[in-house]
Amino acid sequence: MSLFSFLGTLEIGLIYGLVAIGVYLTFRILDFPDLTVDGSFTLGAAVTATLIVMGVNVFLATLIGTVAAACAGLVTAWLNLRFDILHLLASILTMTALYTINLRVMGKPNVALIMEPTILTPFEGIFGLPDMYMRVIFVGICAVVGALLVAWFLRTQYGLAMRAVGSNKRMAQANGIVVKEKVYAGLALSNGLVGLAGALFAQTNGFADSTMGIGTIVVGLAAVIIGQSLFASRSMYVIVLSCIVGSVLYRLAVSMALNADFLGFSASDLNLITAVLVALALIFPKLRNEWKAKRAARDEI
């Protein structure tokens, strides 16, 4: 793998680290399987790219893209909490609707940002750094700052209440927590992070596309699972940062698989590689536990 290709992989891995943190919030903290992210990733990108093309300030455009994605999370939470629609189905409904909304936002299937200013523009040439390094550092800082803020938040009174809701709604209710409010907040935060990732992706890659969000949930889940299997820790900071590490490792694994000529994979095989990697990451801890149990039983005999 060339240096250029490695840095590109790192950049995408770091951006998807934000997606992984969002997925961690819904799947692990709130116990709410949320597929909205496939649509909210694109929504963040589409809104931001469209606003930039319209001449809006890049930072404001990114903020609006993030807020729009957070609103998508609120819609899913509303469908689930107000109308008792199963969480998975509620998120699929929002995701499906977002496909059309994203096309409407962009007015066409994709928006190019090649000649437009982006969030990276103010940092071009900073400290004499070549752009390819600056981009990685920039998205790395965004991902790490995002992770630290989320970890800090989860340790606050509000964050603890959110964790209690995901752990057991009945117990949370009994302790005076307003469950619905925490679910709304959690889904908005999660999808906001995913939308921010979409906005950064569009600006670093120079385009927003209506299909760019397909498979976001699987990539996010893969990153969470890989990160948590490698770093078993009780510290919220380690757990949240491990989502970013998991995301980078996942991207590197995919990139190496695609670059290994003897395997004969092409770019179109990406989804198969993703599915196999996620399956392996899910299967491995289970097999490891079974081996441990067998060994312990043998030792006892």
């Binding site: 964790r163 057991n168 117990m171 009994a174």
Partner: protein
């Protein structure tokens, strides 16, 4: 008291404002909680009510100490040092000194229920609802938990609402109500 499926837990959930009645009204601590919204009921529970559940319901990612301090943090008391001191004292009282850093998965059922007892009493609630608190425990552990529950209840002067199908246990309470076929009647 009542047989399995009689509606004891449902009644307790209604009394505590965890569920809303389809008809009728419920008054708790001089407030008509059945007319309140989620937020108002949550506030009353947070300020005045404690719970002990049959399944313990501890947060798996938090240690025993953190599980006990949680209700205090949720009430807005974020003074970690004073919370920890209070929680450690209660954990000691229930016989779990030295187990503060253990996760729920590293504790036995009886130990988890003792953590749940400490958590329930840490905020000194006016009313404590206990739903079959020994239902998942062996007889010896159950006996120990019950003794602890009554001792702590007496010490703190809490009103204890205990749901059980154990007649012997019910005899220790000052007042016994029996639910049968959806009807609630005072025990003779």
């Amino acid at each position: 008291m009542g047989t399995s499926g009689a509606g004891k837990s449902t009644l307790m959930s209604l009394l505590a404002g965890l569920d809303q009645p389809t008809t009728g009204s419920i008054t708790l601590l001089d407030s008509t909680i059945s007319a309140m919204d989620d937020e108002q009921r949550a506030k009353i529970r947070g300020e005045s009510i404690g719970f002990v559940f049959q399944n313990f319901l501890l947060i798996p990612s938090l240690t025993a100490l953190q599980n006990v301090t949680l209700p205090m943090v949720l009430r807005g008391n974020e003074d970690e040092e004073s919370n920890n001191l209070k929680a450690k004292a209660l954990l000691k009282e229930v016989g779990l000194a030295g187990r503060e850093t253990h996760l729920p998965t590293q504790l036995s059922g009886g130990e988890q229920q003792r953590v749940a007892l400490a958590r329930a009493f840490v905020t000194q609630p006016k009313i404590l609802f206990a739903d079959e608190p020994t239902g998942n425990l062996d007889q010896k552990t159950a006996q120990h938990i019950i003794e602890l529950l009554f001792a702590m209840n007496k010490e703190q002067g809490t009103t204890l609402v205990l749901v059980t199908h154990d007649a012997e246990l019910a005899k220790r309470c000052q007042r016994t109500l029996i639910i049968n076929d959806g009807q609630c009647q005072e025990s003779a």
